[in-house]
């Protein structure tokens, strides 16, 4: 079993809150990812069993959403928003300078697997551009130096 007992009981709790079991599938995938980092084939098979659906139905959902992953991920996810309001305030040059700072081409991860750098569509911070999302946290009103410092402070 790859999904821990603790996560399983949280999934059961989520299921109890929905009128139909399947309603808890997105919450369950969030829980599995928080635990295992991504949804492996084994995880998908176990989720399928819990939800009484086919593994392919789990994978279909995983692949539809940008925040779900079917393969191992870098330790930290960094996304620079490059939608129009952020682009107007220099987000593309921020992104390219972070690319050279980390030595990666976005979307891509550093060799040591510490940071994945990518671009993202509007994150609801357009008035505080340029901005980036680091894992669950927003960093707004950035300049290049501030952004580099934030990346450098991220642990392994």
């Amino acid at each position: 079993m790859v999904i821990s007992d603790e996560t399983r009981s949280k999934i059961e709790e989520a299921i109890s809150k929905y009128p139909q079991k399947r309603g808890a599938l997105l919450p369950a995938i969030h829980l599995v990812q928080a635990d295992c980092g991504h949804v492996s084939k084994e995880c998908a098979a176990e989720l399928a069993e819990i939800f009484e659906i086919l593994p392919i139905q789990v994978m279909e959902v995983v692949s539809f959403y940008n925040m779900f992953f079917d393969s191992p991920q870098a330790k930290h996810h960094v996304y620079v928003c490059t939608n129009l309001p952020c682009s107007l305030r220099g987000s593309r040059s921020l992104l390219s300078q972070l690319e050279s700072h980390l030595g990666v081409t976005a979307p891509g991860a550093t060799e040591d697997g510490r940071i994945f750098l990518g671009h993202e569509e509007c994150l609801g911070a357009c008035g505080y551009a340029p901005m980036m999302r680091v894992d669950d946290e927003y960093h707004e009103d950035l300049d290049v130096e501030k952004a580099k410092q934030i990346l450098d402070s991220l642990g392994k």
Binding site: P19, Y65, N83, L84, E121
Partner: protein, 431 residues
């Protein structure tokens, strides 16, 4: 945590006060009195009538009458009824729901309770976009406080009315903001919009009668019930009452949030409130309501920000996301960013949308590179025109409109790219 709006009215007036997000702080400022009044003193129909009379329009983009939508919920129906609060906010240029979630979760919950009473809904699902981690924590905290105080659950305020509220987190898909895409996602599926009819009031979440409203729409409701429809109509225009929170972004001195009455002239928002364009430059164009809404050129910024006036200029209020572009801006680059987004986010069910968004981006990108031909510009307009009003959801229209707007007002930018075989705006923002 987001900065408090620069200009506040009734929705956001307490947002900079530290204790306001807590239940205690909210009640100290009169919170939950309107919900108590609705549930203990008003019949559901009376609540609906009040909201109708107030003329509250949905703030999620389409501007549909909230009271009218509530009245579509079936009355003699044994099935459980649900509300959905749309907190997916992912329209580019829009960041107002975020502050309403972060600082005003109780205000929104009170609006939800009143709507629940009016429609007979037994539960509400709040669907929050996956990236909004901090806002979701604030909403969860507020919900827990409301349960502990007996404002949610089996016996709301001791009246015997039952209502449960719960949060579902999205996972990064713009299309889950469209209400039926949201419903599919809520049911644990891919967020692909449903064919309508049946409409959500007949067949919504988990097949049950459902009303979907935006975060801001719910947030206005306690004020309407508490202070009355006439008071509410004291803000805004005859046809578009109330305030809204404008999110101003792009080339302005003070980007940020501004709560202002509907009908405030766009020029006042850009030049007075947001401080105008930095560096003494001139404005070139402004997108008035989030990226799906057609742009207005510098000469048309006198327009009052309400749908009855914006429609005359072939655009709409949308989500009130005001994006300002100065004279350095290359509008073909803007079109490129816009079309990239829609190509990326199309759910792919409808041919016009799936193929059209791809074609638009390809053509625009070619023109921007300097490799386009004059006829490409006509083909672009043609593709956009063929995408409108033919698909399962309004995403395809939302993808076509901004491109049509750019062609309508800034065709010369496209033509110059073709003639000069390069981008004629070297000082524009980078692609």
């Amino acid at each position: 945590m987001l900065e408090s709006p620069y200009v506040t009215q009734y929705l956001t007036e307490h947002f900079s006060e530290a204790d306001y997000p807590t239940l205690e702080g909210y009640e100290r400022r009169g919170g939950y009195r309107a919900a108590r009044k609705a549930i203990t003193e008003m019949a559901p129909d009376e609540v609906i009538e009040t909201v109708k009379t107030a003329g509250l329009q949905g703030r999620g983009g389409a501007g549909f009458s909230a009271g009218l939508k509530w009245s579509f919920m079936p009355k003699d129906d044994e099935r459980p009824k649900y509300l959905v609060c749309n907190a997916d906010e992912s329209e580019p240029g829009s960041f107002k729901d975020r502050i309403l979630l972060e600082r005003g979760a109780h205000q929104m919950l009170e609006g939800i309770l009143i709507a629940a009473w009016a429609t007979g809904a037994c539960a509400t699902f709040i669907y929050i976009r996956g990236e909004y981690a901090y806002p979701a924590v604030q909403v969860e905290r507020a919900i827990a406080e409301a349960y502990a105080k007996g404002y949610l659950g089996e016996n709301v305020m001791g009246t015997g009315f039952r209502h449960d509220v719960q949060v579902t987190r999205g996972a990064g898909a713009y299309i889950c903001g469209e209400e039926t895409g949201l419903l599919e996602s809520l049911e644990g599926k891919k967020g692909q919009p449903r064919k309508k009819p049946p409409f959500p009031a007949q067949y919504g979440a988990f097949g049950m009668p459902t009303t979907v409203n935006n975060v801001e729409t719910f947030s206005h409701v306690p004020h309407i019930i508490g202070k009355g429809a006439d008071w509410f109509r004291g803000f805004g225009t005859e046809k578009s009452p109330g305030t809204t929170i404008f999110g101003v972004s792009g080339h302005v001195v003070r980007p940020g949030l501004y709560e202002l009455p509907l009908g405030t002239p766009l020029s006042e928002i850009v030049f007075e409130h947001a401080g105008g364009i930095p560096g003494g430059r001139k404005v070139k164009g402004v997108i008035p309501g989030g990226m799906s809404m057609p742009i207005l050129p510098a000469g048309q910024l006198d327009v009052p920000m309400a749908n009855e006036f914006l429609r005359e200029r072939k655009t709409m209020l949308g989500t009130g996301g005001v994006m300002v572009m100065d004279e350095t801006t290359c509008m073909v680059r803007a079109a490129s960013v816009i079309s990239y987004f829609f190509r990326d986010e199309s759910c792919g069910q409808c041919t016009q949308c799936r193929e059209g968004t791809g074609w638009m981006h390809k053509i625009i990108e070619r023109i921007e590179r300097g490799a386009g031909e004059e006829e490409d510009i006509d083909v672009l307009g043609d593709v956009a025109g063929k995408m409108e009003a033919k698909t399962i959801c309004a995403f395809a229209d939302a993808a076509a409109w901004p491109i049509q707007g750019l062609l309508r007002h800034f065709r010369d930018d496209f033509v110059e790219h073709v003639r000069q075989r390069k981008c004629p705006f070297p000082g524009s923002f980078e692609l």
